[in-house]
Symmetry: C2
Subunit: 215 residues, 2 copies
C-alpha cells in the first residue's frame, strides 16, 4: 500500500491525488498540516529533506516532488495513461504541466507569500498583486497553447481524455480562485477545469473532500 | 536538425545544452538575448507563449519548458541514457532535478529579481539575500539526499554516470556562484559539480563557451 504525506489545500498534493485516483491506485492518506507548520518540524524533515508536500512512500523508498512522483505513477501504473503515446504529444502535455509546476506554483507558494509579508511588509493586497501577476502570465501562455491546438477537444488540455496537464491545471486554478485571481480572460482554461472537475477521480481529490479539510 | 532558442547565461538553457551534448545531438544555436529583453518582444512571443528560454524547434513542433524538452530528448535519443532504468531510481533523479527546477531556479529567475528591485525597492544586497535563502534551502535538501544515498559514486548525483540531475545541479550551481551563494556547506554537491564540469559534454555547454557569451 502506498502512503501519501500531503495536505488537503496544497495544490501539489491535489494534483498528485488526482493522478492516484484516475489510475485507481489505493493509498493511505497522512496529513501534514501546513497551516500548523508541521512540515517545518523535525519529524517531517526526516521524511522529506526539502520539507515539501507531497511525499509518496512506496514501502521501498520515499519519493519527493510531485512532478517526479507523477512520472513514477505513470511508469508503474500505466493504465489508464495520463500522457500521450507519441513523444511530441508527451512534450506538449509536460510543457503545460511545467508552466504550472515551475512558473506559477513555486513563485506563489506558502514560503514565498510568508517572505513577502514578513521581509517586505506586504499586506494581503500586496501579496495578492504578486500572486495575480505570475498567475496571469502563466494562464495567458496556457490559454494560447490551448487556442492553437486544433486537434484538442474542449474539455481537456490535450486530445480527448485527461492527462497530467489537466491534473496540474485543475489544482492550480483551485488555488488561483482561492486567491481571487480573475479567471474571466481565460475561457478555454475555464472550460477544461469545469469539465475535468466533473470526472469522479478529480472530484474525489478536491481539497474539500479530504480527511484534514476544515470542518 | 534541431534548433535551440536559448541564452548563454540562462541556467535552463545551460542544463538543456548539457543533455544535447551528452547525447551527441547536433543543434543550431539561436541566441535570445535576455539581457536585451529580446524574450519580451513580439517576435519571440510568437515562438514561445510563456516567453521563456529554451525553446526546442524539432522541425515538426516547438517544445517549451526545459523539463519537458529534456524528457523528450531522453525518449527520442535514449543512448546514452540520462535516467536510470528502474522507476524508483528515475523518481530519485527526477526529484533532485525538480528541487532545482521547481524550488530553486524559478524563485530566483530574472523576472522575480526585477520585481524585487522595482516593486519592493530591493538593492543588490536585498536581492541577494532572497536568492541565497532559497538556494540554501534547496542545496541543503540535495546535500542530504546525496549523503544518504550509499550506492552513489562521489562524482555524480546518482549511480556512477551522469543523469539529468547532474545537468540541473551543475547549471544551477553556476548561477548560484555568480550570485555569490556560499557553497562551503555543501561539499558533496561541490564534488559532483567539479567532476561533471570535467566531462566534455558539460564543459562545451558552459555559458562562457557559447556564441552569445560576452566577449
Amino acid at each position: 500500500m502506498l502512503t501519501l504525506y500531503n495536505f488537503h489545500a496544497s495544490s501539489t498534493s491535489y494534483r498528485t491525488r488526482i493522478v492516484l485516483n484516475y489510475k485507481n491506485i489505493p493509498y493511505e492518506y497522512i496529513s501534514v498540516r501546513l497551516d500548523k507548520a508541521e512540515h517545518l518540524g523535525r519529524a517531517y524533515g526526516e521524511i522529506n529533506p526539502m520539507r515539501g508536500v507531497p511525499t509518496l512512500d512506496t514501502g521501498d523508498a520515499r519519493l519527493y516532488q510531485s512532478s517526479a512522483i507523477i512520472e513514477y505513477l505513470e511508469e508503474v501504473y500505466p493504465d489508464p495513461p495520463m500522457l500521450p503515446n507519441d513523444p511530441l504529444g508527451r512534450a506538449h502535455v509536460r510543457a503545460i504541466a511545467a508552466i504550472v509546476g515551475s512558473d506559477m506554483h513555486p513563485v506563489n507558494n506558502l514560503r514565498i507569500r510568508n517572505m513577502l509579508r514578513d521581509a517586505y511588509k506586504q499586506d494581503a493586497d500586496g501579496v495578492n498583486t504578486w500572486i495575480h501577476l505570475w498567475n496571469r502570465q502563466g494562464f495567458e501562455a496556457i490559454e494560447a497553447m490551448l487556442r492553437s491546438d486544433k486537434a484538442r477537444k474542449p474539455g481537456f488540455c490535450y486530445g480527448s481524455s485527461a492527462t497530467i496537464a489537466d491534473a496540474y491545471l485543475v489544482s492550480h486554478v483551485f488555488s488561483a480562485v482561492r486567491f481571487k485571481t480573475d479567471m474571466t480572460p481565460f475561457p478555454l482554461i475555464r472550460t477544461v477545469v469545469e469539465n475535468c472537475e466533473r470526472i469522479e477521480a478529480f472530484a474525489k481529490a478536491h481539497p474539500s473532500r479530504q480527511p484534514d479539510a476544515a470542518q
